[in-house]
Symmetry: C2
Subunit: 371 residues, 2 copies
């Protein structure tokens, strides 16, 4: 177990969001980020992936954003004559979604121009660097599923807990169809809103279904109870509390309130980063519950980790090319050699961020519940 | 029409959130607001309704929050020795939910301790002053309905638009039951998230249903397209674009995707503030669509505004006691004299804020779809 936690930590601290390649001249074709608050002109992004920020704080002494120098302190903004602070990243950012925050005179705030997303155990600002493959998670003119917010009773935690359930287009209309279910976990610092807000999981599904690439299934997302443990002390995390909520409370709720196929063969579990760590632990602890396992930048299995090979229909391992792709590929190969249906996927040019996980979901979904 | 817009404006600029009564000594029983981000100690509220703020910005020259002096500039914070800025409102706040923001050296930001809520055409910080009647919108151990996020096709605006649909407990289980529908609008500066996030409409319904006080119905909430018009120029607002989306696009979508009773007698429309103005205009323009009308701090009807009395089952008018209660009461009385089933409700001790509208929904719900 310790060995895998070590790998998990290594994955977690990979380079974040900043391409260290040669830095071309900055093109002046900046446009508002698609994740801005309504009507807000800043932050902006250009066709090369540079991000430009503008913050109003006329009497501040120092303003910076946390994005832009590969973890080395972000981008300092400079004061303009009209009372704004402006600055552009020193190089292009990786494609996709990035969290960031704004430092004003020593305090951590959000950019008033940007929408907020829950990460780092706080609502952070978000920015979207247009990706060459952004079409697969775009809002298109196709039939859309819905995302149900449910409050399910949890005896073990003495409260009602929130979950989101994606149901595919047509779910409400044809009452005769029942569906398999993917239980999909966020990472450390995030919560049950991450996979639809940052990950656009519902739009990825709508688009895959419209293209006929997958058999429709439900996705259930709830809070993995990961954030009570401090980031540097994740090895102290005990999965048993969340396992009880997920397996003994949420799954029965979903199966009695949604039209599911309620057996092990039609349940999958996947998670990103620390959600992958949870997926790995819970699938190992409770092999009778899930048949499809997926760890997205969230560690690996060794063949001997899995007690009963006959119960496992798929093991999917993925990460970004800027993480530890060799570890993921060799683990998947060892599983395949041991007779598992194992698949690895490496997201090219991305790190431990949501573009890796959006792509991983797109790759994973067609492999689920094939037979 | 102009006369009613005038009343609408007057309602809108009533006193906001600050009780101007005698100010007792501040009790030191402050606790974190229930709307804080997970684990955040500030902002805090005490048993008298005072709010206390703490912001970290060690090198700032000036920090203040927009709440606390009845619209006269809010509360200035003072620097503490450990690099925080702290301050307490000069008096108790009105019960319930308040929007606010933080001014750091001339820039408008959110409080990193508080959750955000969409109002004033931006995501604002929110704080909850415990109310004597907070039980009716509390999260309780009762069966919970769900809130579906749907994306419905809108030809008139060339996009998929978002709506939230509350379905009562048991909706998914008993497929034989069909339900009436309340279309419920937010106010200016807000969006389709307001009625569940700030208003707790889903919890109000869950609790009323658990107590057997209402016949269950669906609630549909979508963006009223109110925010493209600047606050001071609301009389330039043209309801026809939203009316087309609501009546010609959203209602058919809801009626083909949810188990509704799809006739005029089983459709209600209500709105708060500018959403009341929309409700008034749309119910007058399209009397064949809705049978129950409700304006919450959103103007009034005169008897002659309503063309066909026989089609209208309920006219509900409400506001806070700190708004213009006499106007609401006299309008409801005139409607009653003219033979309408008219009801008025005044929320005691509250202004043009969400506590007024939470209570209004609680009062309205039992009156809907009675026969």
């Amino acid at each position: 177990m310790k060995q895998h936690l070590f790998i998990f930590f290594f994955l977690l601290i990979g380079p974040c969001g900043f391409s260290q390649a040669d830095q071309p001249a900055v093109k002046e074709d900046f446009k508002p980020s698609t994740l801005n608050q309504p009507g807000q002109e800043y932050p902006q992004v250009n066709s090369q992936g540079y991000a430009r920020f503008r913050i109003q704080a006329v009497a501040a002494d120092s303003v910076g954003v946390s994005l832009g120098l590969g973890g080395k302190g972000g981008t300092k903004l400079a004061k303009t004559e009209d009372g704004y602070w402006m600055g552009t990243t020193a190089g292009p950012m990786d494609e996709g979604f990035h969290y960031y925050n704004v430092n004003i005179d020593g305090g951590k705030f959000n950019d008033p121009g940007a929408l907020n997303f829950y990460g780092s155990v706080r609502w952070e600002s978000g920015i979207e660097i247009p990706a060459h493959d952004q079409d697969f998670y775009a809002l298109k003119d196709v039939p859309h599923g819905s995302v149900h917010q449910v409050l399910f009773p949890s005896e073990s935690t003495h409260t009602s807990r929130r979950a989101f359930v994606y149901t595919p287009p047509g779910y409400e209309k044809d009452q005769s169809v029942r569906y398999p279910v993917l239980y999909l976990q966020h990472g450390w610092g995030e919560d049950e809103t991450a996979w639809t807000n940052q990950g656009r999981a519902n739009l990825i599904m709508d688009n895959l279904i419209a293209e006929g690439q997958i058999k429709p299934f439900l996705i259930v997302m709830t809070y993995g109870m990961t954030n009570d443990v401090k980031f540097g002390r994740i090895r102290e995390f005990d999965v048993k509390y969340f396992q009880a909520v997920l397996v003994d409370e949420l799954i029965p709720y979903v199966e009695s309130n949604f039209r599911t196929i309620a057996d092990q063969q039609h349940r999958a579990m996947a998670g990103l980063s620390m959600g992958g760590m949870e997926t790995r632990m819970i699938t190992m602890n409770r092999p009778e519950v899930f048949s499809h396992y997926a760890l997205l930048s969230g560690g690996t299995y060794k063949p001997e980790d899995i007690r009963d090979k006959s119960k496992v229909k798929l093991v999917f391992l993925s990460c970004g090319s800027k993480e530890r792709p060799d570890g993921v590929k060799s683990a998947a190969a060892a599983l395949k050699d041991a007779g598992f249906n194992s698949v690895s996927y490496i997201s090219e040019g991305t790190a431990h961020e949501f573009q890796t996980w959006r792509r991983s979901l797109r790759e994973l979904a067609p492999l689920l519940f094939r037979n």
